[in-house]
Amino acid sequence: MIEVSCLTKRFDGKTALRGLDFRAVAGEFVALLGPNGAGKTTLLYILASLLRPTKGEVRVAGCPLPHHAAAARRSVGFVAHQPLLYPDLTARENLTFFGRLYAVPHLPQRVDEVLCLVGLMECGNNLVRTFSRGMLQRLAIGRAVLHDPQILLLDEPYTGLDQAACEMLDAMLHLQAMQGRVLVMASHDLGHAARLASRFDILVSGNLKVSVFREQIPAEGLSALYQQAVQSQ
């Protein structure tokens, strides 16, 4: 589903990713962990085809980027740090707009399904600018899964959410993983990652330091592994 080899990304002389290799297959939930500036968001933006790699090969859903980005985009849903929603449209209008861009079939029914899925059916006709951070995040996830993508990319999806919203997001992400999608989630929050992910990749200074499956986590736990990886840079 996702294959990245020797990926390098530079911004104005600063190297964000240094020859990174990364792979994710169907049904995997990969937590991308690492300190600020590790390159997590950059990697997600490249996988979402919003940034172009400086060097290296990237294949998303079998499509090489950036040359076949349009085909890859059809298979990708992206929950960015910002909700990517229009504040002056209602929740339903936002989903309808993005559904038209993705040519989603039976759009009105699909919009209702997604509003139900994210628990916003009651507020479907409210303007998005009146939404709380938690509601925005739920709608952002609804936008990302509207076209039923095979790959879901999430950048710090728990930021600014209260306990109840976090629990709802946990349940939604678990459901997406159970449906066989590839989920790649960048997060600082080891607790949420540990609860949900099936694999943990720790990035430090643009390098992939550690990649372990849930069952391979040492007895000291994920936190100790993370500290070890970060301190070894």
């Binding site: 085809s49 229009y86 707009f97």
Partner: protein
């Protein structure tokens, strides 16, 4: 799919504008202030009016159009919505056409208010079909160019200054052609007398719409 995307973007821009009235109201207020100021500054006799009208009208349209272009794509970026558009598996040229059409609609809507007000203030008949055609062609080319350049300038911190600096020199042939064609028509010349300016307008529109369609994908990328 291309037309569906264009329509979706146009619909979204019009609904959003209807609800927040930020772009159109700024353009309209600016345009009305300019023509009121010119009205008091230039107390014209009828002979001079025909000569000056096209200049006043196109200065107004050019500057209020620039106000709209400045907000067109940068507002998407400021609200974090641009990435949402770019994530969609659509032809980027369709995004360009949708945004250019919404800019054109805002300019035309401004003209719908400005032209009657100008006619009343200056006691001049602007409702000459050939002149209205020049307005349409001029705004089409200006919106095509302005939308493309707003895509180029939107990632700059100096974008509010950068857009006019990029736009006016490139739009100069278009502005000269519309002013000359408008002057001729308002002075009562037949369409055939300003045909060469009209031809220049049409060629300019074709060139800039075509170039923008070809390069917008590169312009809007990181």
């Amino acid at each position: 799919m291309f037309l569906r995307t264009v329509w979706a973007i146009l619909w979204k821009d019009l609904v959003t504008e209807w609800r927040n009235r930020q772009t159109f109201s700024a353009m309209l207020v600016f345009a009305l202030v300019v023509i009121f100021l010119f009205n008091f500054a230039l107390e014209l006799n009828r002979g001079a009016q025909a000569v000056v009208t096209s200049g006043v009208i196109w200065v107004t349209f050019a500057f209020c159009g620039t106000l709209g272009f400045n907000r067109s794509l940068s507002a998407e970026q400021d609200r974090g919505c641009l990435d949402g558009l770019l994530l969609a598996p659509v032809n980027r040229a369709a995004i360009y056409v949708g945004k250019a059409l919404s800019n054109l609609v805002f300019m035309l809507a401004t003209a719908v208010v400005v032209l009657p007000v100008y006619s009343l203030l200056y006691n001049t008949n602007l409702f000459i079909p050939a002149f209205l055609l020049v307005v349409l062609l001029g705004m089409l080319g200006y919106a095509a160019l302005g939308t493309m350049l707003s895509g180029m300038s939107m990632r700059s911190r100096m974008r509010d200054l950068l857009l006019p600096v990029l736009l006016f020199p490139v739009a100069l042939p278009l502005l000269v052609a519309v002013v000359k064609a408008s002057s001729g028509l308002l002075e009562g010349q037949p369409l055939s007398a300003v045909r060469h300016w009209m031809d220049l307008l049409v060629v300019y529109d074709i060139i800039f719409v075509t170039v923008s369609l070809l390069v917008f994908d590169e312009v809007i990328e990181d």
